[in-house]
Amino acid sequence: MHQLLILLPFLSIIILNLPFKSILRKLAFLFGVSLCLFQIAFVFFPALRFSSAQFELLSSFLKFNLLVDNLTLVMLLCIGIVSFVSLLAAKRLIPEERALFNFTNVLIIALAGLNGIVMVKDIFSLYVFLEITAVASFILIVLHKDIFAFEGAFKYLILSTIATTLLLSSIALFLLVSGSTEYSAISAGLKNSPNSHIMMLAIGLFLSGVFIKAGLMPFHGWVPDTYSSAPAPVSIFLAGIVTKTVGVYTLIRIVTTVTGFTAPIRNVLLFVGAFTIVIGAFAALGQNDFKRMLSYSSISQVGYIVLGLGSGTMLGVAGAAFHLFNHAIFKSLLFVNAASVESATGLRDMNKMSGLSARMPLTGVSSCLASLSTAGVPPLSGFWSKLVIIVALWMSGRRVYALIAVLASVVTLAYFLSMQRRVFFGKLGVEFANIKEQGFALGFAAVLLSLIVIGVGLFFPFVLNSFILPVGNIFGG
């Protein structure tokens, strides 16, 4: 019953906004958390995924044409976990009941949008759900009506609109050639007219649109402003899953299922991926603002995913999906830590902090774990996904790109160690003598995400065989 993952958020919104708002307002958070937990259970318990007799009537009425494969399941899991963590952070950081209610409502809408993106098998439906997610994201960013957030949201809005225009133009051209907007029909249409200028233009327009949505270099301008100016729970949600689904998942899906790995597409992906990794990493190295540094790091890590995809092999696709999952987890964890630090100190400038680990040990340790995982230090999760990507590149003969990926990891380690040194290590500043951990919700989120980072690393063989390698099977299918 995959339809439920779109229908339940939709129904929740309607129920939450019925009369008796004062009671429902208190229940909104529980609704949001329940939806996320249902989604996580949906991935782990196959029994939930298959229609039972009770749902047959619903299925016959709502003929949603959905696609659920291993990549979809990995994405649904990421969306469930990151949304859950974002809600936990909101519970702590948005004290006013009405504001929390508003946040939860819009997050549930975004959840429906994200679930739609990963489950549809039609490029026009994909566009519809991309728009739902984009509009919900604009509202989330400006939720606190902060002037910088308005600036960030405006940049996001303008660039996202340009991306949408490119995607729509491309969809129109795909429709012209294939006569349908279904992935399979477009793929067949492309096979019939492989060297057409129109098709190359369509693919080029689509890739450009998706590159903007994913925040890849040189289309990354909106990412640091948006991530750093948005309220903390929104930053977690945006950096953890929104851009990864809207941009990166869409890229993986379209390249593997629709266009296939032609030589020009592989070369573009490899070049853009490597360029993004290097520039993003060096840009992160020069930042003093905690959240801006994480934003550039996020850009750089997306480069790894695109590089893995660019290898054009099953292993590369699996590595890209694995790094997408890992990135969603450790980047959410880092943004949770940034939220804790900002909430405790009121600061984002890393040069003004020192020795926070002494008063916030949980935040310090979890941040260290997430940083090491991002940099690819064994045995944490990020090490394995980067290893899979590098092996895939090496085996496909792209050794220079594999080397760039390895060297950029050193830069990643450098900026994260610099962050740890400035924020958490050293002598505790006098002005921070009275700070403390920021409540159960943020602590729980940090512990949960840290356990996933460690667990995926330690049980890598099991994760690889059960979840990761099957993702590669979508390639060509």
Partner: protein, 162 residues
């Protein structure tokens, strides 16, 4: 063909006017004009139903929304508006030239439409397409509308209170 080209040129001019005019209200009207011209193009391309949607939703509903929102906003003074317009011209004067040059380049390049077009399908009833073939898009559009309503309520309600 020539009529289509004339309409398209008029459409581009209306779009440029929309972007360049110094009054928000006139920009809103310009946008409605673009939609009306687009409606004619769509109608001439044998898609009357799409044309009706374009006219009613884009030229009608959206224009009403724009005008009502603009009426809530504080307009610029005449002096400020002229200043803004000057800045805009200074910043974007080259855009129309680029558009014209691109058009010339596209005319000169002999683009090969090297494609195998599918055989046209029998025209389907739009109602059946919307309700039977694409219910997920319909649900998506309802969710987009809901999101828009939320956006307005969340972002404007408190402002009104203040």
């Amino acid at each position: 063909m020539q009529i289509n080209l004339i309409i398209l040129v008029a459409l581009i001019l209306a779009a440029v006017w929309t972007v360049m005019t110094r009054s928000l209200l006139r920009a809103g009207i310009g946008l409605a004009l673009v939609s009306v011209l687009l409606t004619i193009v769509i109608f001439r391309l044998n898609s009357p139903l799409a044309a009706v949607f374009e006219l009613s939703v884009c030229a009608g509903l959206i224009s009403v929304l724009f005008v009502s929102t603009i009426s809530m906003a504080q307009p610029l003074s005449r002096k400020e508006a002229i200043q803004h317009m000057k800045i805009r011209f200074a910043r974007y004067w080259y855009l129309p030239i680029i558009v014209v040059l691109l058009g010339v380049v596209l005319l000169l390049i002999n683009v090969k439409l090297d494609i195998l077009l599918p055989t046209p399908e029998k025209i389907k009833d739009a109602r059946l397409v919307i309700w039977n073939s694409r219910p997920i898009d319909l649900l998506g559009q309802i969710i987009i509308l809901l999101t828009g309503v939320f956006g307005v309520v969340i972002l404007f309600k408190e402002r009104l209170k203040k």
